[in-house]
């Protein structure tokens, strides 16, 4: 599974660093390093919905507050 977090200007201001750090932690806590490939990308042209996170090409809108929910729903459940 490929998870890509936007680290462009807009998403950065909306908290992509916190999202990346939470995801890194959640992935290692749940021992998913072998199954999930976490990477970054510059602007995904969808800044209004930032922080943009794509899971296998489907784009989601995540915030530092919702990242844990998002992880359980979209990553943990499907991995």
């Amino acid at each position: 599974m490929k998870v890509t977090v936007c680290i462009g200007s807009s998403c950065h201001l909306k908290g992509s660093r916190q999202v990346v750090e939470s995801l890194q932690k959640l992935i290692s806590d749940n021992r998913l390093e072998d199954k999930v490939m976490l990477s970054g990308t510059f602007c995904m042209q969808n800044c209004q919905a930032g922080v943009c996170v794509s899971v296998d090409d489907k784009v989601h809108s995540v915030s530092p507050e919702t990242v844990e929910d998002f992880f359980r729903r979209e990553i943990l459940a499907k991995a």
Partner: protein, 390 residues
């Protein structure tokens, strides 16, 4: 015409309790390759000294740059300077370093500590001839420049640093030379060398300088071109033309901006690989792209670079951070402030619709201002700047 250029940097400490510095440095570019640098130290401290040294340095630098002789300059100063009511003299010492065609230095010294010159990292005793102008004994030297030559001019506040406090006789010339020789090989910029020397004086003074202290460093170095791409072109059809011109340039290449780097990656036919390392929580991560020396995010990173540039020109407090850190802004700062001498900016004027959101502290005008502010700062650092808009 050779491939050399000079890097000038200076730093002053004010006499404790004074808001003005009694030393003054004036730099005038006579033409593209010739520069006159004057360091003047006015009698006393505070306002009076500041007026004396400002007048002296301004008169000399302007006249020398216009091609007038040292005799004319000294005569003009003697006739112009106001006479101090307490001491009944009009007095300001000066050091002139006139760089001619980036090939030769003409050094003229009157009563300031002798200019220290380092060649290949070691003290170099350049020949001096004595001349008497009016009642003034002036030393003149001519030196052919070589790459990595360093000249350090200073006011007497430096050699008096720590008198009776930490040192019996102040900071002696040979000790200062030893201090400079330690750092000569590192390749610090002139501004950094001057800051380090002034900081050391401040320490010796116990952070209460007993005299105005000024250090001016001049470093002879090879020209180093650098190119920076910032923002996509306003007309998308210009993208290929912009990339072709950018990549055709000699020297290193920096790209700032997510969309911009995607365009470059497409042009080069290479994958763009953003990293997830947040070396500085405020600055978005950099990316890797084959054929480009550095790829960073745009506005946030460049905004930080501008703030580092402003600080570098003034107090130089953030130097310790950006000179070693690995975030995008620090990397750009090192490349532009330290490495480069000639910088070409390729600026795209496309409006990023995502940035026109009133919730975000970035917009098109801020972006354009950033380029202008940055190039103004870099010009003050003595860089040659060209900006091309698309």
């Amino acid at each position: 015409m050779n491939n050399l250029c000079i890097d000038i940097g200076y730093q002053s400490l004010n006499h404790v309790g004074e808001q003005l510095c009694g030393d003054h440095i004036d730099i005038v570019e006579a033409d593209e390759n010739s520069t006159v640098v004057v360091l003047a130290d006015g009698l006393g401290s505070g306002v009076k000294a500041s007026i004396l040294s400002t007048l002296t340095s301004k008169i000399i630098s302007t006249m020398m740059a216009a091609g007038l002789s040292i005799e004319d300059c000294v005569e003009t100063i003697a006739a112009t300077l106001p006479v101090c009511s307490v001491r009944q003299v009009a007095y300001s010492t000066f050091t002139i370093i006139h760089i001619i065609n980036n090939e030769e230095a003409d050094i003229i010294q009157y009563d300031n500590p002798q200019v220290i010159m380092l060649r290949n990292g070691e003290n170099y005793d350049y020949p001096k001839t004595e001349m008497i102008l009016g009642d003034k004994k002036i030393y003149r030297s001519r030196v052919q420049l070589q790459e990595d030559d360093i000249f350090v001019a200073m006011s007497d506040g430096c050699i008096h640093a720590g008198v009776g406090l930490t040192l019996n006789f102040g900071w002696e010339r040979k000790e200062i030379i030893g201090f400079l020789e330690t750092f000569a090989h590192v390749g610090f910029t002139a501004k950094t060398l001057a800051t380090m020397l002034a900081d050391e004086c401040n320490k010796l003074y116990g952070f209460e300088p007993g005299d105005d202290t000024t250090v001016c460093a001049i470093r002879v170095r090879r020209r180093e071109p650098m190119n920076m791409l910032f923002g996509p072109p306003s007309n998308p059809d210009d993208a290929n033309r912009m990339m072709a011109l950018f990549f055709a340039k000699q020297g290193k290449h920096i790209i700032s901006g997510g969309t911009t780097s995607s365009i470059a990656a497409k042009y080069l036919g290479k994958p763009l690989r953003p990293s997830l390392n947040f070396f500085d929580p405020e600055i978005p991560p950099t990316a890797e792209l084959e054929g480009v020396d550095l790829v960073t995010e745009g506005v946030i990173t460049v905004n930080k670079v501008v703030s580092y540039a402003k600080d570098h020109l003034g107090e130089n407090k953030n130097y310790e951070k950006w000179s070693v850190a690995r975030d995008g802004a620090s990397l750009i700062s090192r490349m532009l402030f330290e490495e480069a001498t000639d910088i070409n900016f390729f600026v795209g004027r496309a409006v990023n619709p995502a940035h026109q959101n009133p919730d975000l502290p970035i917009n098109f005008h801020i972006k354009m201002n950033l380029v202008e502010e940055l190039s103004a700062c870099l010009k003050k650092m003595g860089k040659r700047i060209k900006v091309i808009y698309f």
